[in-house]
Amino acid sequence: MTIAAIRNEPMPPEPVRWTLPQARTLDAVNTIVTAPLYERGLWSWRAWWIGVAVSGAMTAAFVVGVTVVLMRGIGVWGVNTTVVWGTAIADYVWWIGIGNAGTLISAMLLLMRQQWRASTNRFAEAMTLFAAAIAGIFPIIHLGRPMYFYWLTPYPNTMTVWPQWRSALIWDFWAILSYILFSIIFWYVGLIPDLATMRDRARGKFAATVYGAFALGWRGSARHWRAYETLHLALACLGVPLVVSLHSVVGMDFAASLMPGWQETIFPPYFVVGAMYSGFAMVVCLAALVRWGFRMEGLITLAHFDVMAKIMLMASIVMGLSYATEWFNAWYGGDHAERSLVAFEFTGTYAPLFWALILCNVVIPQAFWFGAVRHSVVAVFVVAVVINIGMWFERILIVWNTLSHDYAVSMWRIFLPTVWDWVTTFGSLGLFALMYLVFVRLVPVVSMHEVRKLVDEEGAS
């Protein structure tokens, strides 16, 4: 008799299973995950080719947009002498937010022993790499003189000057650089055992050689696994504070200024939650697409969407509270510029976008209170897309509202996006999609060894 039964407490519910019956043997896991790479005949790949064509065209547009910006200067965007930051900075914050989430999700869930992460962490981490890489492009092209971006690094130079270590922008440079490189290591370490599986399942010499080389000769011996688990856990422990610090620093890019609506102590945690929120939404979108495209219903189940929807619901409430805290502080602080800014947010030129933001980030996600919504992949996907749009509105409005409505009334001016704003924004989406489409053809999208462990443990329990 269990303790719960003795105490006459209700028995705990049956544990949730994170796999469907068709994926509950080790070989089934391997077959399902490696099929897109080794059984290519099972797919028509039409959707994939359409995706490549569309995202390739968008990437080409992005390249053109970046070239134009580099050749003619940032004046081709809608930035002006008042709103000196524009879509480039908003895009940067949006992308780095998404880039945060992969490692945050993967590492945090690992530390919290959330076994369901097994089938999502690989593509979430890949998302991180691509999004963070794209994020890194924007601040550089937004520099007035991007050819001097390397002045951010400390090196002995003929000017005999050093970077200003007290500047949030310098912190940003180091945080992003460290984070991208760290994420590559974290991702690659988790990938090594799966590359060995790919090597051992290869049918041709070419695949065996390439995967074998990247697998470094992994053979899954007890010593290997011991070292792997030690390192992976230690990296997760370091990854969480690194991610939190990274997006806190992004928040401080704003908060370390003296501008109304930016100089707020809530910014670092508020940015971290926002990053987790938009990142989770992006992971859900990718999970739905991977599941549909590669028939991974057995590994990415409705239970996964349910639990991810619950996390997004939680994050949406925290975001709502953060917005409300900003408004309250502006009112309670009594500072005229702050109050005036909030009034401008609510009723000013950008008010329609602001209310769309509230709708997308706070109101619509409340649908996740209902089980029927959480158990519908289409519904979760749609809400996740809405959240991503809402988070972009948030990023752009953080930039526009404060800069358009500064202390000096004579300086007030509106940002009007130009075609190049849209080209660089949507083009970056195309670049992300293109990198992702290539990724799914080269690397197993689900971490096989972790799912094998999960299947084994579920089988034993």
Binding site: T25, L26, D27, N30, P154, T160, V161, W162, P163, W165, R166, I170, W171, W174, A175, L177, S178, Y179, L181, F182, I185, F186, V189, P193, A196, T197, R199, D200, R201, G212, L216, G217, W218, R219, G220, S221, A222, R223, H224, W225, R226, A227, Y228, E229, T230, L231, A234, L235, L238, G239, P241, L242, S245, V249, H449, E450, R452, K453, D456, A460
Partner: protein, 174 residues
């Protein structure tokens, strides 16, 4: 050259049980190859302690110290700049760079330590040539024990592992 006996199992429970019994029966366990980390195997094999975390700690602290040293040198010694009497060594503002780069170098050190401890990269390994070994990275659990030299003992060992549920037994020299 080590004479090995490879006992292959199809599920982890039998595999762990067999390894435990084999150890009790004084077979010398050489290694175990599994498709995912099996709890307890490491202890059964008497492996050395891992130094990965020590390497990460040293690497991280060293990098953080170096980063802070650079900030201090540049802002206090090489290019002191008095801005409204603010302290030259603004340590709270200087913390982020040592923190971020320290974590990065800790990760790099950890990865390097992983390679050293695992003896990787080593693209060729004698057991890779053994038939069926490729399934150790997929769905089979393989226990490698020292092969008894005497025919009698070898026969007993084969019986022992067959009785423990091994699905295949192979005598190899690695």
């Amino acid at each position: 050259m080590t004479a090995l006996l490879l006992a292959e199992f199809a599920d982890s429970t039998r595999f762990v049980e067999a390894a435990r019994r084999a150890r009790g029966a004084h077979y010398r366990l050489v290694d175990a190859f599994t498709p995912f980390p099996v709890e307890g195997m490491h202890e059964l094999l008497d492996e050395r302690k891992s130094h990965i975390r020590v390497a990460m700690f040293i690497g991280g602290i060293a990098m953080a110290a170096a980063a802070y040293g650079l900030e201090y040198y540049s802002a206090v010694i090489d290019y002191p700049y008095n801005s409204g009497g603010r302290p030259l060594d603004a340590w709270p503002a200087f913390m982020l760079v040592p923190f971020a780069t320290g974590i990065l170098v800790a990760a790099i050190a950890g990865f390097a330590a992983l390679l050293v401890e695992c003896g990787l990269p080593r693209l060729h390994y004698a057991l890779f040539a053994v038939e069926g070994f490729e399934r150790a990275s997929q769905d089979r659990f393989i226990l490698a024990v020292e092969r008894p030299a005497e025919d009698d003992e070898l026969r007993r060992a084969l019986d022992f592992f067959r009785g423990a549920g091994a699905t295949a037994l192979r005598e190899v020299d690695a």
